[in-house]
């Protein structure tokens, strides 16, 4: 079955086409809504084509790590909920879910998108712990980018509930940047941005690049059992930075 699908997608690629008539550098239609969960301190619902992801941000005061006594803590988890696909099973996260959570986490952490020093309550004793929980509701390809967009949008709408916990005044999440992941797949030597379900299933290599407002890169991950050439890696980075800038303008600038 997947061999047939692979042939089909490969042959379309040779004609410069994709299964859903997109161009190689075209991202699917995106819908984004923020503050969809009142109980969460920040939340976002994202739809990338048919892929749906819900991100909730919760905050808790807790102890900092000994090596960063004046910095808040970020914890990202991602669940491939069994309601999202016939292939997903309940249980502890598997390597695919762990990988995507960690790539999302690294993008946010390494870009310095959150000013962690501002999340310090009492140095060495108490800081805000930011829990970013990503729930995949419907899997139709490219959970990675949907999660990244959802996480950053949810963070941008997060209010730190200091009054509720008796820790001073409420404040907005101290955001400094808007890192966004863009994923490309390698199909027979051609790179396609934002893979749909079939493209992601048949491709042997996927590359995710997280880039920031100033065009710098804060995270990258090759995934899948194939290889990339050096030229492909460089081209992927260029395309991803360009696409991330478009996404930021279209979906995040209004938040």
């Amino acid at each position: 079955m997947s061999v047939l699908k692979k042939d089909y997608i490969y042959n379309l690629m040779l004609k410069g086409k994709r299964v859903d008539d997109r161009s190689f550098d075209q991202i699917r239609d995106i819908a984004l809504e923020t503050n969809v969960i009142d109980k969460a301190e920040g939340s976002a619902w994202v739809k990338y084509g048919e892929t749906e992801v819900l991100v909730g941000v919760k905050l808790q005061a807790g102890a900092p790590f000994p090596d960063s006594p004046d910095e808040g803590v970020i914890i990202t988890s991602l669940e491939l909920n069994p309601l999202a696909s016939p292939e997903f099973e309940a249980g502890p996260p598997k390597e695919g879910a762990i990988e995507m959570a960690r790539v999302t986490d690294r993008g946010i952490r390494e870009s310095g998108a959150i000013d962690l020093n501002k999340l310090c309550i009492t140095k060495g004793e108490e800081v805000w712990i930011v829990f970013i929980d990503i729930h995949v509701l419907n899997y139709a390809g490219n959970i990675q980018d949907a999660s990244s967009l959802g996480a950053i949008a949810a963070l941008m709408t997060t209010t730190i509930p200091a009054e509720r916990d008796g820790k001073g005044e409420d404040m907005a999440m101290p955001m400094r940047d808007m890192p966004l992941a863009v994923t490309l797949v390698n199909i027979g030597g051609s790179l396609m941005v934002d893979p749909g379900l079939d493209e992601e299933t048949v491709c042997d290599t996927r590359i995710t690049i997280v880039s920031n407002q100033d065009g710098s890169i804060s995270g990258m991950q090759k995934s899948g059992n194939g290889a990339l050439t050096e030229e492909q890696a460089i081209k992927a980075v260029e395309m991803a930075c360009e696409k991330a800038a478009e996404l930021r303008k279209a979906h995040l600038s209004s938040i």
Binding site: P66, G96, R109, M220, E230, I234, V237
Partner: protein, 354 residues
């Protein structure tokens, strides 16, 4: 507790450990150090000490995990509890699960898995002592261990990282550069320059990325030479007596292990049991909180890579003679294995039908 150095590169352009910016740390490779494994390698790189064993191709149980048209590769990256400053809790962490996944994917493009349907090739990489760059060190060792096991491959995989300190790109990060640097880009490549592992975190411009990739390529080329040398030393000389040779090497690893254990005992004495931190980990926070996840051996989404491999099978002119020799030797062995496997398979299915 920050012991961050003020400057990573001195006025002469040398790094804290006296290296040039494009110089890799000293690497030592020993092959065939474990008598029970089909292939093994002990590698030291700077202060990293890595031991890798390869088992297989062997029959995969449970049978439902078997792939009808190719072998499954399993890669387990594991850090010894005493491998870092503060003891880490044994068992898989989210970090090690991710590293295992991407490392396996670094080998899937080169290992000719289509030759062994239904089989499994197990790679166990054990970090005995960690000192920045353990995933790349483990890949370098695993590559050699796979060759030692006679697993047919399109070529060797070599890996190294480029990072950024003081705004400058440096090859093969040491511990301080890894902890306090601005970026880290581990890359694994085949000898044809195909990238099979690529990760990055930190902050880099597109231009720096291009340059970093060039530096990685040069680093990988140097490592490839060392890997080849090590394989030659072991296999090129047919007159070498295997028995005393192996015995000697086993002793060496044992000694190395003792050293490591002693070190760790000294260190653990001063460690609070609660403070569990993967010193080497880039995201200590995550690792601590989410440490008690269970490893789930799983049949992963390995896709149809065989076609490409088959297509490139003929593309072997680069392969060194000694590797080919080893391969031939092992293909014979493997043929026997396969027969055995078939037998077992038939028997198995018969029992099942009854």
């Amino acid at each position: 507790m920050s012991d961050k150095p003020e400057k990573f590169i001195d006025e002469n352009g040398l790094r804290l450990d006296g290296r040039q910016i494009n110089e890799i740390r000293q690497m030592k490779i020993k092959i065939g150090v474990l008598s029970r494994a089909d292939g093994s390698c002990y590698l030291e790189w700077g202060n990293n000490k890595i031991l890798v064993a390869v088992y297989g191709p062997r029959e995969l149980h449970p049978r439902r995990l078997q792939k009808a048209d190719s072998a499954l590769i399993r890669y387990r990256y594991n850090m010894a509890a005493f491998s870092v400053e503060e003891r880490i809790r044994p068992g898989p962490s989210r970090r090690s699960i991710e590293i295992s996944k991407v490392s396996r994917e670094a080998f899937e493009p080169v290992v000719m898995t289509h030759l062994y349907p239904g089989a499994v090739i197990d790679v166990f990489a054990e970090v005995l002592q960690a000192d920045a760059g353990t995933r790349t060190a483990a890949i370098n060792a695993a590559s050699v261990a796979l060759a030692d096991a006679g697993i047919p491959m399109k070529g060797l995989v070599s890996a190294c990282a480029v990072g950024k300190v003081d705004g400058q790109l440096v090859l093969d990060l040491n511990k301080a550069e890894d902890n306090y640097g601005q970026a880290d880009l581990p890359v694994a490549m085949t000898q044809d320059g195909e990238i099979t592992l690529l990760q990055m975190d930190g902050d880099m411009t597109q231009e720096e990325f291009r340059k970093a990739l060039e530096m990685c390529k040069e680093g990988c080329r140097q490592i490839l030479e060392m890997q080849k040398e090590a394989l030659k030393a072991k296999f090129a000389d047919d007159t070498a007596l295997p028995v005393p040779d192996e015995a000697e090497e086993t002793v060496d690893v044992a000694t190395a292990l003792e050293d490591v254990v002693e070190d760790s005992e000294e260190e653990t004495g001063a460690v609070e049991p609660e403070a569990e931190e993967t010193e080497e980990a880039d995201e200590s926070a995550e690792d601590i909180i989410e440490e008690d996840l269970e490893p789930v051996p799983e049949d992963t989404e390995a896709e149809d890579v065989e076609e490409e491999i088959a297509a490139e099978e003929t593309d072997e002119e680069d392969a060194d003679e000694e590797i080919l020799d080893v391969e031939e030797e092992f293909i014979e062995l493997i043929d026997e294995d396969t027969e055995d496997e078939e037998k077992v398979a038939t028997e198995g299915s018969e029992t099942r039908e009854q």
